[in-house]
């Protein structure tokens, strides 16, 4: 008994020391970071770009001398648009490759799949895509927009500048549109919009026959009140949707469409002349007039060796996340997860719209919200820019989450603190 325990203890110690040794060895020459984006399968269309951005940022940082005097090395893996594979690849990056942090994921499903892995192995993930909120993890930083950094300002713009009174919330049938529309509906009703003036419509992934829905929108819009469409339609389904809008003669002056998933990259496959005036809300557009943005675009075109490549919002989010991590590591003097988690809160880095973004205690960041109108050349003309907005992880407009806040600073260190009950944990008011 005693002997066994001793043996076990010795083995454990040996195991610990080897890992420590390996860690020390790896830390000697380079610092590794993981890039977890799908390079094949349906999401490759969007995620490949982010992989390229990460490689560009790493190369650039190394030119400046790396981090803590060491070179950075990007470890790229391909989770192939397969959600369980994301978790497997994340585990491989953290335990085998010993990366200091991971940059990756696009869909919420992939993020939910890797979340337990990052919490279990205590590593850091930077997630660069706009998402539905209602989540806060000690090990994840959300550098994309939460609903209050994209959806709600867009609706406010339409209500104020265009006098919209009637709303069509159209989306693809999955978690991001469902949650965003739930928040928007609650928000609109809190602003006094009657339920009869809100129409919610869902379509399957890759929906291509929009005739009925577009004519439904027309019908809904002929009630004598100014109508707008708030679109959370995802990916490929957008092209036939906009084509049908254009063909049925719905002009932006009559029924404007504001989209949250349509950026420069999506418009690249589309003749945008019939769409001029339709809107999108993001935290960044390629057309932003700022020196830092001009430099970024120039570098991106040089790096990809393609003069036609466009930049978009998730790229900016990746840029902010990467620079925030670099700054936090330099402040902490180590890549140790716990030290970085402490030092990163409050870190401010420049964003591409000419201001700065700060990492908040709820692991979201501050950034301005831009509303842009589609132009004939596939770019956006910015018609409104707000002051920086703090990402709100738990929406104030959903009964389940309105009492929850997240603060990962000590001593609270809680992702879902209920201000009504004064306790940490659990949903529900």
């Amino acid at each position: 008994m005693n002997f066994k325990m001793k043996l076990g203890g010795a083995l454990l110690a040996a195991a610990l020391s080897t890992t420590a040794f390996q860690g020390a060895f790896a830390a000697d020459d380079t610092i590794k970071i993981g890039v977890l984006h799908s390079l094949s399968g349906t999401m490759a269309i969007s995620e490949t770009t982010l992989k390229d951005v990460m490689l560009m940022l790493v190369a650039e940082q190394n030119k400046k001398g790396g981090v803590l005097g060491k070179k950075l090395e990007a470890v790229v893996v391909d989770p192939a648009s397969d959600w369980p594979l994301f978790a497997e690849k994340a585990r491989q990056l953290i335990s085998q490759d010993k990366v200091a942090a991971v940059f990756g994921c696009w869909t919420s499903s992939s993020r939910k799949s890797v979340l337990p892995v990052f919490e279990e192995l205590n590593s850091i993930l930077f997630y660069p895509v706009q998402y539905e909120g209602e989540e806060s993890s000690r090990n994840i930083f959300y550098t994309g927009a939460a609903p209050n950094q994209q959806a709600i300002p867009a609706v406010d713009y339409l209500a104020k500048e265009e006098g919209v009174k009637r709303w069509v919330l159209a989306g693809t049938d999955y978690v991001y549109p469902q949650t965003t529309n739930k928040i928007l509906k609650a928000y609109l009703m809190s602003k006094g919009v009657p339920e009869s003036d809100i129409m919610i419509n869902y379509t399957p992934f890759g929906h291509s026959d929009w005739q009925t829905i577009v004519s439904d929108i027309k019908k809904f819009g002929s009630a004598g009140k100014k109508t707008a469409v708030v679109s959370t339609i995802n990916g490929d389904a957008n092209v036939p949707f906009y084509k049908e809008l254009g063909n049925q003669g719905i002009k932006a002056e009559d029924i404007p469409v504001v989209a949250f998933s349509v950026g420069e990259e999506e418009l690249a496959g589309l003749d945008t002349k019939p769409l001029v005036g339709h809107l999108a809300a993001w935290n960044y557009f390629q057309s932003v007039d700022a020196e830092v943005n001009a430099d970024f675009i120039k570098e991106w075109k040089a790096f990809t060796k393609n003069d036609k490549r466009v930049t978009n919002d998730p790229m900016e989010a990746a840029y902010i996340g990467f620079n925030a991590w670099v700054k936090a590591v330099e402040a902490a003097g180590t890549t140790n997860t716990d030290a970085v988690l402490d030092s990163i809160i409050g870190v401010s880095v420049p964003n591409l719209s000419g201001g700065t973004s700060t990492v908040m205690p709820n692991h979201h960041i501050t950034k301005p919200v831009l509303i842009g109108e589609i132009q004939a050349d596939g770019q956006f003309d910015i018609v409104q820019e707000t002051a920086p907005v703090v990402g709100d992880e738990w929406s104030d407009y959903l009964p389940d989450s309105k009492n929850l806040i997240s603060d990962w600073r000590k001593p609270m260190s809680c992702g879902n603190f209920n201000v009504a009950s004064g306790k940490c944990g659990g949903k529900g008011s």
Binding site: A44, P204, Q211, K218, S222, A223, P256, G277, V383
Partner: protein
């Protein structure tokens, strides 16, 4: 004397100096346009109101350019110009006289920002200003513009134009525009009652929108008239909705038919479970893209012909690929359906990845020729040109295929081979060649379908995948081996889907259609039009 002259000159100067600003307010739009350079959206809206109030038709080109985002101001002196891109800079055009004002580098001028709200204001203002244009089509579109954005300010302009108008159609449109403007003005109750009648006769969604829009603010004595007009339009509209649903159903059905018709040959007639069918459609769409790229670069004038040029090319390209697949893979696997399934699926993955490597993973832009864009009204519904052409196109292909199969010698050979291979072989038909040509024909037809589908869907390497399931569904539902079954199957699935969609939504509608097909196949395993006779048992 000299004193008098001096005094007069002074007086004239005095008048000029003090009167000039007020004159500008009334008549000269130039300072107003120049003021747009530094105006925010709110100020621009006010300025536009004042520009319209000058009644000066010379401002129309400037307003048009503003609405299209072609209005710029020069950074050095804030003067406003219409800008046309020329090389790396802009050709500047004076906004009022239309005279050339030299050139400017790209960073020497700034675009004047515009949003939807301003575009609406401009539309209404231009409508008012061009009502008296000598050009009939301009007057017609001016009346349309007033009709679509009613404002009481335009009322007098419309009435002035009406008094002078001779053309019957334009006059009718102006009457409607007048009625719309009357409703939002403070005219008498009687005049408004007449206006309600005019709008009611106009009918359609637009009229409904206008009438419901004023229902909150209208004089109570007019309320019954208004409600009656609204419900009359609504009940008429309901009827049109039914017609529209049928049309949408036929349109969806024609897309299904296009996707499935090639498969009706390779799977239906030849019995090959062809998983690479979707990729043939995709190759057809990419052929269209390549043709359009070449045309864009070397002969932009031919763009409207791009689809006609792409059709034979797509047919030949996909037919050739089909021929190679049949000769290279499938012919070794006849009679082994499971192996064929895996082999063709492998072929489909290879084709997808090849296209991805050549053209990249992103969507490619395939443009609509002008005759495929836009829509026209038929009664209370709108028909889009691209959908109408696709319906006609799919029916044409169907008829052509039917003629080839039933009337040509090659069709006869093909049917002979599929019905009794050994007998056909004994009669001297080269059965392997017939197989290869039939598979090539089926693939080629799929390629032609790809040309049409490139007009309504994304052109990406994944294009084929989204159609393969629907195609098999249609062929199996219609009855394997029967072209008529494919036609009836596709159209009835389309109409069924479109009748379910408004009531249960697109997601549930699709699920319900699948459930119904499963139940139907349980009852009739051979589909709608089952082949009978000995061929079936063979």
């Amino acid at each position: 004397m000299t004193l008098k002259i001096l005094f007069r000159t002074l007086l004239a100067c005095f008048i000029l100096v003090f009167a000039a600003p007020s004159f500008a307010q009334q008549g000269d739009p130039k300072p107003l346009i120049d003021a747009l350079a530094k105006a925010d959206f709110g100020e621009a809206e006010k300025l536009l109101g004042q520009i319209a109030a000058t009644g000066d038709t010379r401002v129309v080109p400037a307003l048009d350019a503003f609405s299209n985002g072609d209005l710029y101001f020069r950074k050095s002196d804030n003067a406003v110009f219409i800008g046309k891109t020329a090389g790396s800079g802009f050709d500047l055009i004076d906004p009022l006289t239309g005279a050339s004002a030299g050139q400017a580098a790209k960073n020497a001028v700034t675009k004047i920002k515009i949003n939807n709200n301003l575009r609406r204001v401009i539309r209404s203002a231009m409508g008012g200003l061009t009502l008296l244009s000598p050009d009939r089509t301009v007057r017609l579109s001016a009346a349309d513009a007033v009709l679509r954005s009613p404002s009481p300010e335009n009322l007098e302009l419309v009435e002035a134009a009406l008094a002078k108008e001779a053309d019957k159609e334009v006059k009718a449109r102006m009457e409607e525009a007048r009625a719309v403007s009357v409703l939002s003005s403070d005219r008498s109750v009687d005049e408004k009652r007449g206006a309600i009648q005019t709008i009611k006769n106009l009918g359609g969604r637009n009229a409904l929108g206008i009438l419901s829009g004023v229902s909150g603010s209208i004089d109570p004595s007019l309320k019954p008239d208004l409600d009656a007009a609204i419900s009359a339009i609504e009940s008429e509209q309901q009827l049109w909705d039914m017609v529209q649903n049928v049309w949408y159903g036929l349109s969806l059905g024609s897309v299904l038919l296009l996707a499935a018709i090639g498969l009706a040959i390779t799977f239906g007639v030849m019995g090959i479970i062809n998983m690479a069918h979707g990729e043939m459609v995709m190759l057809g769409a990419y052929s269209t893209f390549v043709v359009q790229q070449v045309i864009r670069e070397s002969a932009p004038g031919l763009f409207d012909w791009s689809l006609a040029i792409a059709l034979p090319i797509a047919f030949l390209v996909t037919g050739a690929v089909g021929f190679v697949i049949e000769r290279g893979v499938i012919r070794f696997l006849y009679g082994r359906p499971l192996e064929t399934l895996l082999a063709t699926w492998g072929a489909s993955l290879i084709l997808q990845q090849t296209i991805r490597s050549i053209f990249g993973p992103t969507n490619q832009e395939v443009g609509n020729p002008s005759w495929m864009s836009g829509s026209f009204p038929v009664g209370g519904m709108t028909i889009t040109w691209n959908r109408m052409w696709i319906i006609l196109f799919s029916l044409t292909i169907f008829v052509a295929l039917l003629v080839v199969m039933k009337k040509s010698a090659y069709g006869l050979n093909m049917r002979a081979v599929t019905q009794n291979r050994r007998m056909a072989s004994s009669m001297g038909i080269k059965t392997p060649w017939v197989d290869a040509l039939t598979f090539a024909l089926g693939s080629g037809i799929a390629g032609i379908a790809g040309v049409a589908l490139s007009q309504i869907d994304n052109v990406s390497p994944n294009l084929g995948q989204s159609y393969i399931i629907d195609s098999f569904m249609v062929v199996v539902f219609g009855g394997v081996g029967n072209l008529w079954g494919t036609l009836v199957g596709a159209l009835s699935l389309g109409v069924l889907n479109k009748f379910l969609e408004p009531s249960v939504g697109a997601v549930l509608g699709k699920i319900l259609v699948l459930v119904l097909i499963i139940l139907f196949i349980q009852k009739r395993p051979r589909g709608l039009f089952a082949l009978k006779g000995r061929a079936v048992e063979a």
